[in-house]
Symmetry: C3
Subunit: 178 residues, 3 copies
């Protein structure tokens, strides 16, 4: 229950349009997707892979957000809008991460095993960004809208574009290819 | 009723695949989304914020198009395909605007109050474009597919890329950063 | 029936997370979308355009994948995730093509008649890519995530960015504007 109180507090904090707990529980698909994922992830862990996948796909139908049951998600994930999000089987998401609609944490087709990204604590991923492959996004970094990230991103940086370049690092403007 | 006759005429004009009024009313999610938004916007205005938001989220589930009840939308908006569209609370859209699927009129997280864009009359926003922040898109301008627009755009221009640059202005080819 | 055995084998081959035929039939929206499209395409061919469009829109609601009934699709199309895909009326897709979520095979508004792309055999189109206009994507080429492709693409090439450039051709690194 604490986990859900945490999540509702997160939504109140992050969204200027969020008003009260009841409205958030009913009206925020991101909340529903995380709720379904906790169930699917547990079912997956005890080996019922078909049922886990079915819960995940039911959640995709209801919320537009597709999270593979195997994905590992930390505390207080804030999903805004959410429609079109895809999170792959071996993705790992830390605490206090913000993910907007149409973000993909996906694969490149080159890797086996761990083939999706690891997102460290406090990262924000803006709408439409694609983060692909077994890469690591350093803590508190920001990924710009529609960016395509294929390499590791250092912490405390802002990356934008296709392919994504670092345009800010530790608060200073830079222009560094990854 | 006039408003809906207007909208149907718009869809017939804009889409070479649109055939007759009945087919448009049944088969075009953009029509449904605008219909739900008119209701949600009215309910929001009279202060029933939870119910307004609920209608908006029901519309998102049925159409894949998410329009905050507070958003202001002009006449003859043409939404093509529509899935993945997000329009924020303080966005303002003029008349005769065309918006394709996966377009976001969103915020950057830096602003309070008016934090979403203003789209002037006759603007076309192509699929996947993200228009973010309290900026103004000048009348009759075109925003290219997957563009990311973070600054004001002059009227009669075409902007493309990440971040978006002006590549056409008043019919002449140019290359201007915003 | 053979067509569906083909499709299930394709999904097993392409997705490391796909386990068995039953799970694929139930849990893969790409399968459902292709199933609905085969029906809609047939209904469209015999002239029942309204009903064909209705089946297509029902499929969009259930799967998040919008394929116009008129589109021509070859054998063993693999649609991964799929949410947000839009395929236009005059698009033509060859055999063994792979299309990820949020891909658009759309129009530019400049053409009449054949106004959507032709995708040759063995092409892979990554998530978020927009392929627009009456253009041809050569066989076995790859289109990068969030790329915007407005011109013909040679076969055996990799194209990325906005607008898309060729970065690989016949296995060698290149940098060629289209």
């Amino acid at each position: 229950m604490n986990a859900f109180k945490n999540i509702i507090d997160t939504y109140k904090l992050q969204d200027p349009a969020a008003t009260n707990a009841f409205s958030i529980i009913i009206n925020y698909p991101g909340i529903h997707a995380i709720f379904f994922h906790r169930i699917a992830h547990f079912i997956n862990k005890i080996g019922l892979k078909f049922l886990a996948r079915f819960v995940s796909q039911l959640s995709r139908f209801l919320t537009g957000i597709e999270i593979h049951p195997g994905a590992t998600i930390g505390k207080r994930l804030f999903i805004d809008h959410g429609n079109g999000i895809v999170i792959g089987e071996t993705a790992e998401i830390g605490d206090d991460v913000v993910i907007f609609h149409q973000v993909t944490l996906g694969g490149t087709g080159h890797d086996k095993g761990k083939r999706h990204p690891t997102i460290e604590n406090g990262v924000t991923i803006s709408t439409g960004a694609k983060v692909l492959g077994n890469i690591r996004i350093g803590s508190n970094s920001k990924i710009g809208a529609n960016a395509v990230v294929l390499k590791n991103v250092p912490k405390n940086s802002t990356v934008v574009g296709i392919p994504a370049k670092v345009v800010k690092l530790n608060g200073e403007k830079v222009n560094i290819s990854l």
